[in-house]
């Protein structure tokens, strides 16, 4: 419970402290960078889980995360190439990366069932945060229709991930 809460609090403070909360209009290159970074973070978390998780459903979930987020990020890279856009680093991406590396270190200290629970709880919280940001900030801010379309597809995929994570979380209890 405390781990789950801390993940949720961290996720919320991320939104509150990051550029996402400042209502500054994000540019397409920044949006592309944030979306791509969010994918990379989840792949890194999943790879850590593949090395540490003991529950088979948790492992399967982590495999799905690697497969899906790599596939979506490949689409994103293809799109920015096609649009001739260079993703631009920004405060939100930096805040996301910082929080993610802290989380990797925190989860790295756990093992067995404790790790499984903490990883899955964080996946639920993380997907909620990213989906909320996509829905409320990134999609409305995106100017290019193709970028907007990819973000909308991403949101549907990640909502599926969130449901999957919630299901695994319920099974672990």
């Amino acid at each position: 419970m405390s781990i789950r809460l801390s993940a949720a609090v961290a996720a919320m403070s991320l939104l509150a402290s990051g550029a996402l909360a400042q209502n500054a209009k994000l540019t397409d290159p920044q949006i592309a960078h944030i979306a791509y970074t969010a994918g990379v973070i989840d792949v890194a978390a999943a790879k850590q889980a593949l090395g540490k998780a003991s529950n088979k459903d948790v492992k399967a979930f982590a495999e799905d995360m690697v497969r899906d987020h790599e596939a979506v990020n490949k689409q994103a890279l293809d799109l920015v190439k096609k649009l001739n856009v260079t993703p631009q680093d920004n405060d939100t991406s930096k805040a996301l990366s910082k929080q993610a590396s802290d989380k990797l270190a925190e989860l790295g200290k756990l093992n067995g069932a404790a790790f499984d629970k903490a990883y899955v709880a964080n996946e639920v919280a993380y997907h909620k945060t990213v989906n909320g940001a996509l829905e409320k900030q990134l999609i409305p801010s995106a100017s290019n229709p193709e970028l907007k379309g990819l973000l909308q597809t991403g949101l549907k995929i990640f909502e599926g991930h969130q449901q999957h994570a919630e299901h695994v979380e319920a099974e672990l209890k």
């Binding site: 495999e63 799905d64 497969r67 899906d68 596939a71 979506v72 490949k74 689409q75 597809t153 549907k156 995929i157 909502e159 599926g160 449901q163 999957h164 299901h167």
Partner: protein, 106 residues
């Protein structure tokens, strides 16, 4: 002249149809944005089900009773010929919240 010939063909077809066994159909089911659509499909033994994966993600159509397990790479299709009647729940192995049901009539 022409209308009459069409009439003859139509009558011939109408008369012939009942004698011929029901034609096996190909039924398409799409997988898009992690949704199987339609979620419930009716078919007959002998029909072919074709799943069309429109996502950039890999999916599968996996029967809970083990009848079939079709892997669907991104943007590809996969088929199964239905050989026995019954109701089959199936899902995607990679995205277990993608669920659907196939009702196969004899």
């Amino acid at each position: 002249m022409l209308p009459r010939r069409h009439f003859v063909i139509a009558v011939t077809l109408a008369l012939a149809t009942p004698a011929v066994p029901a034609q096996a159909a190909t039924i398409q089911i799409s997988m898009e944005n992690l949704v199987i659509s339609p979620a419930a499909t009716s078919a007959k033994v002998g029909d072919t089900v074709e799943w069309v994966n429109k996502d950039v993600l890999e999916h599968s159509a996996t029967a809970r009773n083990g009848d079939f397990d079709v892997t669907l790479p991104p943007k590809k299709t996969g088929t199964v010929v239905l050989t026995k009647p019954g109701t089959v729940d199936y899902y995607c192995r990679f995205h277990p919240n993608m669920k659907a049901v196939l009702t196969v009539a004899p």
